[in-house]
Chain length 757, copies 2
């Protein structure tokens, strides 16, 4: 017994503590990476999966609120990260200023903007007020340093929101519903903002707040619409925008404010303050936030000698991955039960490939919560979400990818999930047409898909819907087989081949043979695409595998593919890659196809359907080529600058893709393995929740030594370019010997098919 204990201790020491560094990881996170250009990441302070995300807002336009250079309107409490399309949230805006209470607009240019994990500060040029922000999970914390104690003003705007458009009911625009504000005492203000619409065209959601100041209000004016009412302490909701200008007393130039947020009520928001920040210590709040993140970052420890750039890229990747979805357990205004509640799945189409698998590696318990939240949404709302925000499903892009997330949880052995209910929810997607608004949830075009085996061109997004549904059907088959539902398995494993029904074998383009191409209900391939609803004119346009645009009169998400070309989607068959290779003409033809794809820039690293493609060389026995491509892509598309992300981060999708490849791992979500590539980091250690460490070491890695020559797993030769999730769970050590030349390592044992057809 004693001996065994000692042995355990010893191995723990060997595997873990010798490498364990006392160095903190969180300081390497740079929230500004991806803040400019297409990245659109949230730049303010936030807890992991945190509900409150305060950030500067520069007008109503930008998705993340923040923009460089232009004036800042104020600081609102809720944001999403890395999104495209119409903005969401931006509720309860505050803005310190100096001077009289006579103007709703107090926007100002900025100086000395400083952004760190959990911390934002700026000096407002007009008023010279320094504003610092940190946050707890549901409570923002502000520290305003005014130039003098005598002239301190503050605006609280309950009517502000992002994505406002002058035209009512504009698609993807948030729409104002109502707001309210009330000065409760000299140090307390409460109210709410009720908004509908936005990117997911969701129904109304309400953001309640309770603000507490450490200095008393000595004067005030409130507004309703454009009219200012000096001395009016309350503006009730009559369907108009409301807000308040406050004059602050007290003999200090510094003012602190806590803003509790809730989706239930302003008293719940107040209770959130009392629970989370029962004090006025800014640094204490900041330290708690840093500790929360540090606990998660320390689950994946990379070589302490890695460069600052490498550390910044890696930990910022983890950081972006854990900003969303948002944990709103205890804050669900729609139903009450004992399940976790998460919102802002934005969207699973974006995150299922890398973000969810990365969360599973960092914290399986968290992923279990997320899956259970999805199932609870199914149970109460009728369908699993694909895109959900503001407490409403409301947008699908292609497949019903909650199914992949559930299947991924299943094959990776996550415990504490009712997989029978999971299968039920997946079957709802696959058998019950969503009807009505077919892009809200479930599978649009399902009736046609189930009748024809593909989605015909008359249904929008028929290309990626067919390809995605086929993979989702594979996910259903995976779960059905595991749960011994043989008939269901047989049906869906057969359906998982449906992508072939849109595979046009004889179509040759840029030397590649076979593409996913549009077909009508009658089974006819369409070279020219009819579009538009005119009865007299019959406009058409020629469709090729590179066609990206839709005609001027059709919305950009109404084409054959959502965000992408046939070149991309024809390589997006994650469950039947060997069949895909064979249909493309065999290994050599497939290699040429891939080379063309990358060399001619048909590949789009910023588009999730292409995420897996750089690793497809694995399936023709050339993992060295996969690694080569990955290195090229990272070098060309990622850096630590403000424009360091190649596209919308999409709740961390871009960032988690990078984080995986830095480690040399890449998941094929829904299947139980990771592809192995040349790491960019010399060492990675997973300190897993099950207590077992798994280490990846790249011996001899350097700028020149970028190819894997050989590998061992726990000391034994390991000649396959993939590893099962089970092997990681068991703990151990994967060691690569790196070399300057490509080798034949991993060229024979192909990644497994979980299911046979």
């Amino acid at each position: 017994m004693k001996y065994q204990f000692l042995s355990l201790l010893l191995s723990a020491t060997l595997l873990g503590s010798t490498v364990k560094s006392q160095e903190k990881h969180f300081p390497f996170v740079d929230p500004m990476i991806g803040s400019e250009g297409l990245g659109r990441v949230f730049i303010g302070p936030a807890y992991p999966f945190g509900m409150v995300k305060p950030s500067p807002d520069c007008g109503s336009g930008p998705n993340s609120g923040w923009l460089p250079d232009v004036p800042v309107t104020g600081f609102s409490q809720l944001h999403v990260s890395g999104t495209g399309g119409g903005p969401k949230y931006g509720n309860i805006l505050v803005m310190p200023f100096t001077g009289p209470l006579d103007l709703q607009d107090q926007s100002s240019l900025r100086e000395n903007e400083t952004v760190k994990l959990g911390y934002y500060s700026v000096i407002l040029k007009k008023s010279q007020v320094k504003t610092e922000i940190t946050t707890a999970d549901k409570v923002s914390f502000y520290q305003f340093s005014y130039p003098s104690a005598e002239n301190k003003s503050l605006k609280i705007d309950a009517g502000f929101f992002l994505g406002e458009q002058p035209v009512p009911d504009s698609r993807e625009a948030q729409q104002f519903v109502g707001s309210e504000i009330e000065l409760v005492s000299p140090t307390e203000i409460r109210g709410y903002s009720r908004i509908r619409g936005g990117w997911n065209n969701g129904r109304a959601y309400t953001v309640y707040f309770y603000a507490v100041l450490d200095q008393p209000v000595t004067g005030y004016a409130s507004w309703k619409g454009t009219h200012l009412y000096p001395g009016a302490s309350t503006q009730f909701d009559s369907g108009k925008k409301t807000g308040m200008l406050l004059k602050l007393g007290g003999n200090t130039a510094a003012v602190h404010m806590k803003i509790g947020i809730s989706f239930l009520s302003s008293l719940k928001a107040k209770a959130n303050i009392e629970e989370e920040i029962p004090h006025w210590d800014f640094d204490k709040v900041l330290n708690q936030l840093q500790d929360k993140w540090e606990t998660l970052f320390s689950r994946i420890e990379i070589d302490p000698t890695s460069s600052v750039t490498e550390k910044a890229l890696f930990y910022t990747g983890l950081y972006h991955t854990m900003l969303m979805p948002v944990n709103r357990t205890g804050e669900n205004p729609l139903w009450t039960d004992d399940q976790p509640y998460y919102d802002d799945f934005y969207t699973l189409w974006d995150t299922f490939r890398t973000s969810n698998p990365l969360i599973t590696l960092i914290s399986p318990k968290r992923e279990v919560e997320i899956v259970n939240a999805l199932l609870d949404i199914y149970k109460h709302d009728g369908f699993l979400p694909d895109g959900r925000s503001g407490n409403a499903n409301g947008r699908t892009q292609g497949g019903s990818h909650a199914e992949t997330v559930i299947a991924d949880a299943y094959v990776k052995g996550l415990k504490g999930i009712d997989y029978e209910m999971g299968l039920e929810a997946m079957l709802k997607d696959a058998t019950v047409a969503p009807g009505g608004n077919e892009e809200q949830e479930g599978r649009g075009g399902l009736t046609e898909y189930n009748r024809l085996g593909y989605v015909p061109f008359s249904v929008v997004r028929s290309g990626n819907r067919t390809v995605d549904y086929a993979y989702n059907d594979y996910n259903i088959a995976t779960l059905a087989k595991g749960l011994n539902h043989q008939k269901t398995y047989e049906r869906f494993i057969a359906q998982s081949g449906n992508w072939k029904n849109l595979w046009r074998d004889d179509y040759v383009h840029e030397g590649a043979r076979g593409f996913i191409m549009p077909k009508n209900e009658a089974g006819k391939w369409l070279d020219s695409i009819p579009y538009g609803k005119s009865e007299r004119q019959h406009p058409t346009y020629i469709y090729t595998p590179l066609t990206h645009e839709t005609p001027w009169y059709a919305c950009h998400w109404c084409g054959f593919f959502y965000e992408g070309t046939s070149w991309e989607y024809s390589l997006s068959i994650p469950h039947e890659i060997p069949v895909l290779i064979q249909k493309s003409g065999g290994n050599e033809a497939f290699r040429m196809r891939l080379d063309t794809f990358f060399d001619k820039h048909f590949f789009n690293v910023a588009n999730e359907p292409s995420f897996l493609v750089p690793t497809l060389y694995h399936w023709i026995g050339r993992p060295d080529l996969s690694s080569q491509r990955i290195r090229q892509i990272i070098a060309a598309s990622y850096n630590t600058g403000h424009r360091g992300l190649p596209g919308n981060d999409d709740s961390g999708a871009m960032s988690s893709w990078l984080a995986f490849h830095l480690m040399g791992l890449y998941p094929n979500a829904g299947q139980n393995y990771y592809l192995l590539n040349s790491p960019l980091l010399k060492q990675t250690i997973f300190h897993q929740e099950n207590g077992k460490d798994f280490k990846i070491v790249a011996h001899g890695l350097s700028a020149q030594h970028v190819y894997i020559k050989s590998a061992t797993l726990n000391g034994r030769n390991f000649n396959q370019a993939w590893i099962s999730h089970d092997d990681i769970l068991k703990g151990g050590e994967l060691v690569f010997e790196m070399d300057s030349q490509p080798s034949t390592w991993g060229n024979t044992i192909l990644p497994p098919l979980s299911l046979k057809q």
Copy 2:
């Protein structure tokens, strides 16, 4: 010019003022008619279409809150009237009591319960507190008379609701989501109740309140869940039931309380109080309420020498008809625009036949508002509602009858409605499958209906869905024709004959030939019905035109018809009655069929699909037989007792059926005429909103003289047993000469078909 004016004045005098009585109508209303037994009417005070409906609640079970004899739990502020299925609302319950603040349960037996229009009073047996209630539109007003000034307690329960079930997510049961309560000042309490589910399985709705007392609170205890917290002035929402017990001071034994209600916020509820009841005068509130009703009742003036019973039956009928839907303009938490907002369509399947047409006669402006609210719901929620409550569509019973309501408005020339949008909304119903939950809105089984021309038995309620959709298609054709959409007209006038696809010509039952019978997808008539989902057993049961029940394992709304038999639904073809007669074997066979229907009690006056049947004799030239049946039915089924309604009043459906027949008119909703029957009232005058009076006189009407011998319209012979809505709009006088024997009056000119096929 002058001459014309005099002439107009003269005719106004002749038609109107000589008959106009100074007698008030509202005192004849007895809210207790239909309160016991199946009627389930709301018995408390309410404005016409009023938002607030305070009533005693006797436990959580009864749909209307009220029951005789058993203890009363308290008085909650929102109810619906005449509903079946699971209850809805019952929010924000108050209860005066005496004694210490130690018990949540303060229920008590009652004495001296008094119910009048707008007024409720009772003495609580336990405490001897007299409780009187009246109400404004959005504010309840309570007057509590305690036995002494020294011992006055009051409970406010923010967690109570009707229809609670111990099992979570029970179908049709309301489910608790959250609640909050807060003592704001010694005379003010605010909070809310958030509930989901109920009959229409709706998503969460929130009822906010603001209560104001005219005596100060001197002590209090609040609760959360089952735990009582003496001295705690606030219970925030943590997903548990909350409430408060108050000790009241002041040196009077009487306490007044106003409870403002809002669906937006408690401050809006407070604003509602300030707008509607800025005083403490109970009688003033009551008088205002009475005036509101009187204005509406005076639109239809009946013979002042009518018996008290006749007046009670008639005006209570009008009263019940105008309790719902509920005008919630300015109280919509889902969107803000300039359209009216109505909720609690409960359901249009029930009300389209008689309630909506009666509202159109009383106040076309009101009906315009209702139709515009329906269209605004379509615009924002995607589908017209059939059953809507708690701000959510959520339940259809058969057809998509908002279409009939829109068509009825159109054929009756109601102005101020965007009928093009109306047609668009109707076409959404008829062309886009609702999907997902197929009973929520739109047309369940639409895909099959549009493919096969009928709904096959594999879809629940296939019988009445087919019959109803065929009529709804006729409604679409009506509007399409009027708006010159020829192709749409042609499609839907053809589809309106779809009921024939389920008409089994050779089926004979009880001497009648031809019935709507179940058919499967392959077109095979089903004598035995397969039911249940077992793969091994194949349970069946024999289906006959009298089959009412479903097998034990199927829900009662999952049979071939919703609430009804084939005997009933086979006569429910309001647009093709001549075809129906011909298919039944001609006039004589049809007469025998009707006689059998009534004599063998296959007719169910309490079921809306049978509403039109007593008048079907008109179409075989025997209006005298229609009148005979109507008199029999009324005598047997209606009276002024507590059990005076034959079934669930269904938002006034039963009551409006009666009111029409008392006047001698009966609408065929969606078509522009009324059938004429022997009135039960000697005279009816419509004081129409267009300023023109229309009078119906039954000369010589007596217990013996119940047959129409002849008629004149504006002095000219009028030999048809129907009158167009246009003729009523023009104003004038319809005079019947009554006789003791049936005559041949009205036996040749049949009611028109609005549209030809």
